[in-house]
Amino acid sequence: MSENKCIELEDVNFHYNGNPVLEHVSFSVKAGEYLGIIGPNGGGKTTLLKIILGLLRPDSGVVKIFGQISDELEKRYRIGYVPQKASQAEFYFPATVEEIVKSGRTARAGLFRRYKEEDYKAVEKAMEIAGIAENRGQLISKLSGGERQRVFIARTLAGEPKILILDEPAVGVDIASQEKFYAFLTYLNRELGITIIFVSHDVGVIADEVNTVLCLNHRLICHGSPERFIKEEFLEEVYGKKVTSVFHRH
């Protein structure tokens, strides 16, 4: 089992201004998994992502990516990240869809190197998979929220990542686009074999789509199948009593 673990965290702790954000967090993600991380706002989800991505360093504990200690990780572009701001509206930046998608290939192409044949092919393929090839010449500022979200996914796919990490990707996107979007993520996971980590505060969405749920409120509250998560009433522990009444419990 251990050889196909792509992310491993051992006893990770993180404090911010003296307040504990993450306490004794340990888990691992297998290659090909579709993991949903849920938890209340302020429960440490984004911090956890930033630690996995190498943007923050834990106070203690070990983070390994592809078996390498995170700090020493080479070829960081193997972890693709779709930031939360992808779906935010304000993008008055003079750039076309194709230019944005191509930028996702920067690290893989390397400093001082021009794009080669393989880079152009990867960019082309990413635009096709995300269904935005026909928008290539359009300015990013002229797109809708849903289209823009696909551009940002394509940008990440252009770097041909092994792991795709998405932070609240559905914020600001209408329901119809959201459904298409989740189907698209499932396709990436099943057909292309990309490991996906999806962070959301929306419990319903995550339970339907993912094959593993991890819930986080400063510490790890549960880690297992979505069925187990719903059945064992972890919701109360994560969100507190008031919120639990909203969910239909069987």
Partner: protein, 266 residues
């Protein structure tokens, strides 16, 4: 040949002007899209203090100006990343500090009559052949760096966090960009003057942005607009005996107004 080019000093001014016209918007575009346009003005005032030190010590004002503005980049970045004050406030501190320092040092050097006007507003008659070599050499380095790291500069300008996550050296590239801005500003001082350098870095870029093109096309368009402004401005300033910097910037503004008109028509 045109009468204007019979004078060596004018030929030098034109050559230096053209080089600066090319590099100023190439740096400027990365500042504009990151909402950091004020940086150019700040560096210009620090450059003035540097030039004043050069005049006081009777060394090369062009070199001391570059030295001061490059050093200030490290100071600004440090203040900004320490997050004790806003990035904009850091710029303001250096802007006033530079201007105050320049005034005091120029006073000591008794440089008010001779040099101040030329430095503030640009004076094409003061471009020496040494200045021209410096502009040409550093201009070539900047052009080379921008074309070599174009995709990186684009990436960090559009999404710095993602660039960092994917393993791009954002710190190094940011510093390179700011140092290039500092050098460009110091070099431009002779042509457009301290008070107007920022305008040459910013106005052609926002003009080009009115045409809703890709980033690459916007970049080329801004260089063309900048060249047009500098060449037209220098001709006008020679034939009508006007201040070169002001004439160049007014030309750039006229083109901007035209672009608003044209983009509305479309």
């Amino acid at each position: 040949m045109l009468e204007i080019f019979q004078y060596d000093f004018l030929l030098r001014a034109f050559t230096a002007g053209i080089i600066i016209a090319v590099i100023a918007p190439m740096i400027g575009i990365f500042l504009v899209v990151r909402r950091y346009s004020l940086l150019a003005d700040t560096l210009a005032h620090v450059s003035l203090a540097g030039a004043a030190v050069g005049i006081l010590t009777k060394s090369q004002p062009a070199l001391t100006a570059i030295l001061f503005s490059v050093l200030s980049v490290f100071g600004i970045e440090r203040l900004r990343s320490a997050k004790k004050i806003f990035g904009e406030s850091a710029l303001a501190l250096f802007l006033w500090g530079g201007l105050a320092g320049a005034v005091v040092i120029l006073g000591l050097a008794k440089g008010f009559n001779v040099n101040l006007f030329a430095y503030l507003f640009g004076s094409i008659t003061t471009v020496s052949s040494g200045d021209l070599y410096l502009v040409a050499a550093l201009g070539a380095v900047i052009l080379l760096l921008i074309s070599a790291c174009y995709k990186e500069f684009f990436f960090i300008s559009f999404d710095e966090e993602l660039a960092e996550v994917s393993g791009v050296n954002t710190r190094g590239l940011n510093l390179t960009l700011l140092i290039m801005a500092a050098v460009t500003v110091s070099l431009s001082m002779r042509i457009v003057g301290v008070l107007l350098i920022g305008a040459l870095m910013v106005i052609p870029v926002i003009t080009a942005m009115q045409f809703n093109r890709s980033f690459r096309q916007t970049l080329f368009l801004s260089v063309i607009i900048s060249l047009l402004s500098v060449i037209t401005g220098l001709f006008l300033s020679y034939y009508f005996d006007l201040a070169s910097g002001g004439t160049i910037v007014l030309t750039a503004l006229a083109i901007f107004l035209m672009s608003l008109f044209i983009s509305r028509e479309n």
